[in-house]
C-alpha cells in the first residue's frame, strides 16, 4: 500500500524526465514541444497526487455527513491554472514553430543552425 502510493510519485519522476529527455535530445521542434507538454503534465500529476486523501471524495460538498473527508481543493485549483498556462505556452510555441518553418523551410534544430551559420 505504501509503495503503491509512492508509485504515483515515481511515475511523476519518470514522466518528468522522459519529457525532459525529449526536450534536450530531440532535434525536431514539434517533438521538443511534445516533450515539454509531457514535462508539464508530470507536474500536474505531482500536485493532484498530494491532494488525495484516503477515504476522501472530490471537494464538492453535497449532502454529506459531518465525518466525510474531502480531498484537498487547493492543488486542484493550482493545477487548473497550470493546465491553462500549459496550453497557452503550447499554442505560442506551435505558432513560433510554424513561423520558423515558413522562414527556414525546416523544423529540425540542427538544420536551422546550419542555415544560420551560412
Amino acid at each position: 500500500m505504501e509503495l503503491l502510493g509512492l508509485y504515483h510519485y515515481w511515475v511523476f519522476a519518470i514522466l518528468l524526465m522522459t519529457g525532459f529527455y525529449a526536450v534536450i535530445a530531440k532535434y525536431n521542434l514539434i517533438k521538443k514541444l511534445l516533450g515539454l507538454s509531457i514535462f508539464q503534465s508530470a507536474v500536474f500529476l505531482l500536485y493532484i497526487t498530494m491532494g488525495k486523501i484516503e477515504g476522501g471524495t472530490a471537494p464538492i460538498l453535497q449532502a454529506y455527513g459531518e465525518g466525510q473527508l474531502f480531498s484537498n481543493p487547493l492543488p486542484q485549483v493550482l493545477i487548473l491554472t497550470a493546465i491553462v498556462v500549459g496550453i497557452s505556452t503550447m499554442a505560442l510555441g506551435l505558432g513560433v514553430v510554424v513561423r520558423i518553418k515558413e522562414e527556414y523551410g525546416t523544423i529540425e534544430e540542427h538544420e536551422i543552425r546550419e542555415i544560420d551559420r551560412q
Binding site: T57, A58, I60, Q62
Partner: protein
C-alpha cells in the same frame, strides 16, 4: 460486480493501447484511439457509480464529446493531406 466490469473495461483499454502502439497503419491507431475514448467514457460512468458520485457523469459526457471531435479533427487532417498530395500529383502514402 461493478468491479468486474470495471476491470474488464480497464483491460480493454490496455488492449486498445497495445493496438495503438502497434499500428500498423495510422487508421489502426485511430481506431484504437477512438475505442480507447469510448472505453474511458464507460469507465468514468462505472467509477462514478462505484464511488457513489453520480454527479460526475458530466465528465463522461464531456469525454464522449471531446473524443468525437478529436477523431473528426484527425480525419479532416488526413483529408486535407490527401487532397494536397493529389493536387501535387504525388502519393507519399501514409
Amino acid at each position: 460486480m461493478y468491479y468486474v466490469v470495471t476491470i474488464a473495461t480497464v483491460l480493454t483499454m490496455a488492449l486498445a493501447l497495445v493496438r495503438a502502439l502497434l499500428g500498423p497503419s495510422i487508421y489502426d491507431r485511430l481506431l484504437a484511439v477512438n475505442m480507447f475514448g469510448t472505453k474511458t467514457v464507460l469507465l468514468l460512468s462505472l467509477i462514478a457509480f462505484l464511488y457513489g458520485r453520480p454527479d460526475f457523469l458530466d465528465l463522461a459526457l464531456a469525454y464522449a464529446l471531446i473524443n468525437f471531435i478529436g477523431v473528426l479533427a484527425v480525419l479532416e487532417f488526413i483529408r486535407q493531406r490527401t487532397a494536397r498530395n493529389l493536387a501535387r500529383g504525388e502519393n507519399e502514402g501514409l
